[in-house]
Symmetry: D2
Subunit: 224 residues, 4 copies
């Protein structure tokens, strides 16, 4: 899987800090942008993040290119609704070679790996055969397995990135989507270090685990 | 595929009409609800729908149970973001028997049908075998094909139903998802006939086709 | 201010519990609805609420009629975006008599109260006069004060109600909007007691205050 | 009123075109970004806009600073829900001098203008007096009229800008909010000319007026 940050709001952290300052200020945002020092900006941003006042984080957006994610994971990914997705269509794009993801639990056992690859590749061969027999791509794809990869462009603002990372970086999240958001966090960190540091598992922020069983990072919340 | 309307806002059309009337009225919505006659309600609703003032349609929600939709289609379905979905998890639910959808273009040719079924069932057998070998369900499912079915609960309000039907009832939409929304329209019609009639392909409403090629229902829009 | 729950998804708690159960079940939602006992339903709902798995709460919607809210508060209220509002229009509805809200901090002092009323009523008289002089209602309203009341219909699902109550029931929220959500909570409680109990200030749920100063209900979060 | 485009997704039109191309392509978005020529980009963008496939327009966001909009208009503005707003708080910011908007229908008549100004300024004096008497700002503001101005930061993506302009540029929209979106359109045009040209009243795009009475730009739609 390859993740690249292809676009983002210029000076994302300054933009957010200035919007936050505006709410409590007598001057307009262009003046604020001129006056905010680096240190003020950083302090303001950290206050915003630790408080619950996250709506200002929506003023900075990040657009990623993702290649090589399985359709198993992309089906989960597009459940996030405060985000914009453009995804390679299996209805219109015909796949020439079987690119797919092998789960680590399978890849680590040579026998299972061989069986898995055989199964995926034989399904792919059936897909190609159906197309050659004149079946439309959009119907032939019904034999394609979840492991087959896809490409997509995804845009999320910083507030939604915080939310999605809080659930998808959890060790109970599915390993492939967790890997995706680990890469996303690294990409964000390079251009927006304070926001990057705020992309954390929910338990780190709240102090307790709200899943059924804790992985140990944080204790289960006591029942009130 | 089975679709059932399991819940909806009581008196959905009266609710919408009363909310619309409130915007231009000196009295509150409870008084309006008491006074609106059946005929006024119907006329108001038709005016709303033919004008662009659709936000009031959001006050009526419809919740559907859907069984037997392929994962190929459910991946498309959950792209609609002004809706709520709860879907059977392939990470946690282990499938005991291969339930799947065969596309008509394949089903109509006995040879293709046999090949298709063989391919899907052999992938399913591999899935069961991986589970028996100790692979977690969430990883074994990577061999499962798009044809495998899923179950879900979906809630949409009337405004979003209008939007989604406008694109998914189009003859260029994928046949399985078109079939889903044809069933949904029938279900809505039984309890909200005016809204049901408003669930129309976009070209019927706008008077022209905005796809690349027209299916003939409406002509292509002339380029300005 | 008068708040009335005019519509809601029938059996809201059962609907939510059944949708949640579906995600981990081999049967469809209509079967689940038939089989879930009252006790199972309640336990499931409480688990959902204490865990972070709140998306299923979206399957139950609640529609309120609100009369007598000031425009000061309605401007804040409509900032919530996962909700549907239909509001009495000041552009099209002409107001005949000055209905308005007097803040308690003013009402409790007879002199201030008199001044306040005089100010609001004189602005209202100016509004009436502008209309008589032929100024359109939508322009005459520019003299109307924030205190003037409005009427609206609002629909929110249970998940959003939880979120909005978590911030608007906070003692630092504006008193009028806090009063609105206290009434809303009472209305919800009558028809959905488990959900009603879950409509809580954020600090009650999280265990700490994330505002700048704590009111004392919960301590400030320690800085990490 | 002053409107300035303070931030936007770099190369907004190229970003959108590349995301659109990805859906029907075998290569990833970074390769597409490298290869798309200016002419291809423009043609693709125009096709997207004239067809209904607008979701890709969400990958480009625009952030505006707005100063001097009346609270009458800002109350309407924040009803748009697929947008992010940060607004100067009347609860926390105390206003020192009465900045306000005078509607043209009033400003053009010297007598009405004088009365209007007197009314607004006397309300403002009352506001200052209440604050001096110890009333909290958040309560004193109840006497402030709709004409008083506000400042805000607003972020919208190109798809939502198209939608909002389609309704707010209509001659039946309120004059102040129409002026706001005329300025916004000019700002967008400077950095994204194809998108700027697509910010059009709904009737221009659809060919007919769906309001009750037509202003003459386009005829009323015939009733089917």
């Amino acid at each position: 899987m390859r993740v690249s940050l292809i676009r983002y709001t210029p000076e994302p952290e300054l933009t957010i800090a200035a919007a936050a300052r505006l709410c409590y200020s007598q001057i307009g945002v262009t003046e604020i942008l001129d006056r905010l020092s680096e240190a003020q900006m950083r302090r303001l941003l950290q206050q915003l993040i630790s408080s619950g006042h996250h709506s200002v984080l929506e003023h900075a957006s990040f657009t990623f290119g993702v290649d090589g994610l399985s359709r198993a994971s992309s089906h989960q990914l597009v459940r996030h609704r405060l985000a914009s997705f453009s995804q390679q269509s299996q209805r219109y794009v015909s796949l020439d070679s079987p690119e797919y993801v092998t789960p680590p639990s399978i890849a680590e056992d040579p026998d299972l790996k061989r069986e898995f690859e055989l199964s995926v590749e034989s399904a792919f061969a059936q897909y190609r055969r159906l197309i050659q027999m004149g079946v439309p791509k959009e119907d032939a794809r019904y034999v394609l397995p979840n492991a087959i990869t896809t490409r997509l462009v995804m845009t999320m603002n910083a507030r939604e990135l915080m939310h999605v990372c809080s659930v998808r970086l959890c060790l109970r999240a599915q390993w492939e989507i967790r890997g995706l958001f680990e890469q996303i966090r690294e990409e964000v960190r390079k251009v927006a270090p304070v926001i990057g540091d705020a992309l954390q598992i929910k338990c780190i922020t709240s102090g307790f685990c709200d899943e059924r069983e804790s992985c140990g990072i944080r204790p289960l919340r006591e029942t009130t």
